[in-house]
Symmetry: C2
Subunit: 200 residues, 2 copies
DNA sequence: GTCTATAAATCGATAGAC
DNA sequence: GTCTATCGATTTATAGAC
């Protein structure tokens, strides 16, 4: 299978640069406050050129979400086989918190209906979301069978709680407060997530 | 002290209606997607009339946040004295989750700088925020002294974690999934928040 | 204070030349 | 495909009559 012509590879590099800019702007100001003009200025091309690559602002956001899901899937795949299911879940959650704290986690408003429609219409997005959910879901069930994760919690609740760490406002607030460094913040948020606020 | 003239009371009622509409729209679609036209249409007055009561869209949002903080302060004040500090914290958190699940919790984007400026310039907002934080903070320290809340967690982390339940996306996702009713969702989210995902 | 009408600015998207 | 220039729609905010 060919890797594509030189021309196609140049195109790919440019689109990668676009998605990187979108990723950063989504993390920085969110979908509604991100403007296509900013994306174009950030990449260093004209806005009309942007629209030759992606047909809409929603498509730009969807591309960024696909890429972050690809990276998530890669992190999942790279988990050492000798780790327990619980350790794998914790490691992936830690990674998500680190990415978010670094200002590189794109976040989308769940209320925007046109955006939701674009996402749900993207096969790449849906497939990746299902792949990630299935893999994490299998680990969750295994961790519950191991007695590591509370078997009294529906697996759905555990999955959503882990997913939500990617857009948790607590790390950002703690960073803004300025009393703790990034590693301490990640450790403490992980501890509250898995250990809870109550004394054990 | 006079309660104000009839004219002033009519004004107050109207402004209450405006704030209610803003509160609902903020909860439903967020600040960026909420338009001043919608607010006016919802209240049933012209947009120009709205601007006679509140000078900007940001001021509308600030008024809604002040009201929800007033209600939070009231819930805090109404906690029975015979409850433990931990039980009080849990009860306030439960209330916040119930309000959010009912679609009545206004949520603001923490990224919007003009909005942040308006909020930080509002003495009513700042005073209420400090009042609520101080009261919850005192309970948190008491609960840690009682051994109910993990004394190894900085009080700041506990406070932000409790605050974040007001904008937690997990209840909404669980509701959308449709497998659980509201009470089950609140109970489960509270359980993960205070008990953690790990088996105890 | 309430209205109609509109200003002023922004933003997503496109036309058309090269 | 890239550019400049601009359209068309939306939205915040205001002017001015009543």
């Amino acid at each position: 299978m060919a890797r594509g012509s030189f021309r196609e590879q140049v195109l790919k590099v440019r689109e990668d640069a676009i998605v990187s800019a979108v990723n950063r702007l989504l993390a920085e100001k969110g979908f509604d406050l991100m403007t296509v003009d900013e994306v174009a200025a950030d990449v260093g091309i004209a806005k009309a050129s942007l629209y030759k690559h992606f047909p809409s602002k929603e498509a730009l956001a969807a591309a960024a979400m696909v890429r972050v899901l690809q990276r998530t899937a890669a992190v999942i795949d790279q988990q050492p086989a000798d780790r327990s299911a619980f350790e794998k879940i914790e490691a992936v959650t830690r990674w998500a918190l680190e990415v978010q704290l670094a200002g590189e986690m794109p976040t989308l408003p769940s209320q925007n209906s046109t955006l939701r429609a674009e996402l749900m219409g993207s096969k790449a997005y849906i497939d990746l979301l299902m792949q990630v959910s299935d893999q994490l879901g299998a680990w969750i069930q295994q961790a519950q069978a191991d007695g590591a994760i509370d078997p009294g919690l529906p697996a759905e609740v555990v999955l959503y709680t882990v997913f939500a760490r990617a857009c948790d406002p607590v790390p950002g607030f703690l960073k803004a407060a300025g009393q703790l460094d990034d590693k301490q913040i990640v450790d403490l948020v992980l501890r509250t997530c898995f250990g809870g606020l109550r004394t054990r």
